[in-house]
Subunit: 316 residues, 2 copies
């Protein structure tokens, strides 16, 4: 199959021409121009599609978007990046312009499918995929089935409670993994502590408290900074507890981790792997691997293309 994958962000549309067997063939991007309104965004997507394949010599188009997506109908119910989109029939609108099948999928599902078709979990029957971005996204393949549950809203691994009565999470609960291990939460935790540690490297790197991001925390951690150590150790312990749960529940071959925060690489993964061992039963030792995604900047495009492959197959 030949596809176009669209990674639809609030500021940029990233797109690529993807061959199912050969992977990413070429890619491009352009500004999303959210301020010009919904229909202009669809036109911008169309423009990007045509620039990648002028005669539309493709089988389908996949779009990965944050927010709540009705994947069966190709509707964006709502999305934080596109405040004007309410039940927006994205699939139908782009289909009118291109006359191609258009599939829309949320970014966590796209990421999981991308890992399944193009990433480290390629072809695996049992794996868990986690994205550590602004939030914590996740997906599961178990016994070769892409698991979404009875209403298609499951696999929310970021909303299991790892610290009872912990920090307030966006979902309304307290102490969910997302409230501790997302890039946003790591930054928030560091900001809170920065007031007490004004000489921390984190603050030197970020210059002001408001500017602190998770990447500053991980860089300072590498250099032994005390504030950073506190934050990273708490984060890793919460993650390890959640990963332990995933291992007991799914007995997966692999947990593959992507998203902005995963770029910390071995600084994050080495202590995480060690810590996870503390939270699993003996019988699970050496049954799994915890790996950093290697799709990197193309994860969004390949994920979107994968959603189109998956939905084309599923429908048949």
């Amino acid at each position: 199959m030949k596809l176009i994958g669209i990674d639809l962000g609030g500021t940029e549309i990233k797109a690529g021409l993807v061959d199912e067997d050969k992977g990413l063939l070429k890619k491009t991007s352009r500004p999303t121009e959210v301020y010009k309104g919904p229909d202009k965004i669809v036109e911008n997507i169309y423009e990007v599609v045509k620039s990648l394949s002028p005669d539309l010599d493709i089988d389908a188009i996949g779009i990965g978007s944050p927010g709540s997506i009705d994947r069966k109908k190709g509707i964006v119910r709502f999305s934080p990046n596109f405040p004007e989109w309410h039940d927006f029939k994205l699939s139908k609108k782009l289909n009118k312009l291109t006359n191609k099948d258009v599939f829309v999928e949320n970014d966590a599902n796209s990421f999981t499918l991308g890992e399944w078709y193009f990433g480290k979990a390629k072809g695996m029957k049992n794996f868990v995929a986690i994205t550590l971005g602004t939030g914590v996204g996740s997906g599961v393949v178990t016994h070769g089935v892409f698991m979404t549950g009875n209403d298609g809203i499951g696999a929310e691994l970021g909303h299991i409670v790892v610290i009872p009565n912990g920090p307030l999470c966006g979902c309304g609960n307290r102490g969910c993994l997302e409230s501790i291990a997302s890039a946003k939460s790591v930054a928030r935790h560091a900001k809170e502590l920065a007031i007490r540690y004004p000489d921390s490297l984190v603050l030197k790197m970020a210059q002001t408290i408001e500017n602190i991001e998770s990447k500053h925390v991980f860089k300072a951690f590498e250099q032994g900074d005390y504030l950073a150590k506190t934050v990273v150790q708490d984060t890793i312990d919460a993650m390890a507890r959640a990963f332990g749960a995933y291992i007991h529940i799914f007995n997966p071959e692999m947990i593959v981790v992507g998203g902005g925060m995963s770029k910390a690489g071995e600084t994050l993964f080495k202590p995480l792997r060690e810590r996870v061992k503390k939270y699993i039963m003996r019988s699970f030792i050496d049954t799994y691997r915890i790996e950093q995604s290697d799709l990197v900047e193309n994860a969004g495009i390949l994920g979107a293309a994968s959603a189109a492959i998956f939905q084309t197959r599923e429908e048949k």
Copy 2:
């Protein structure tokens, strides 16, 4: 299909003749006589089989047993009730006597399959089954697949951490659901508190601290006993946190709960259902039911028979 289901306990062998469509036709039991050695146990099972179906007019035999079972090979790796059994070829031994297919399955898997074929979750594509017995057993059907994971050891929902650094669990970790919400843990918690509350109803019912069981705690809870309230509320909160996780993860249609402690009925289920709402995101409200198993005393027999049905089908 016509089957014999064997619920193999340390003191008693419970067995039933089961018709796939009509359910349990008749049942019987006899002492296990563990002290007479492994081969005598197999003979005792054979005797029970013949008493239920003298001409062995059955399609297969299913055996449900606690412990670590190699279901593919029908081997009991080890079982707390049968200290002499190490890699015991139970399936092969009974097959020699009966010339019938014999399938062995651990009790948590049997319970789940029993609920799927004969219980409240009959025919469901997405449900979670939990037994609150001495330990916490569990099983999952997701998208119509009986989920066991890459090595067949997954669905260990009792070993997710619900209280970090909580009580020591049999698995070596701390604060697992099993360390708080099993009958054994409830009794242990009550015993610890009984020293401080010598006038508690729990102690009056049990007469001595050593005799305290989870059923005393739930009975005293109904009568407003302070000690019992403390224990039950902690237990329910831990269970609710775990159930919230299962709902986010599997988006199941039902969580069906069995095992000795589930006999507390609405005393347990009513506050549990209320508490679970605290731990789920808005989008999951009204997507699931939490139900008490109605297989009761026959759960073991029907579960064992179901394991035989499932494995017969799976093999074909």
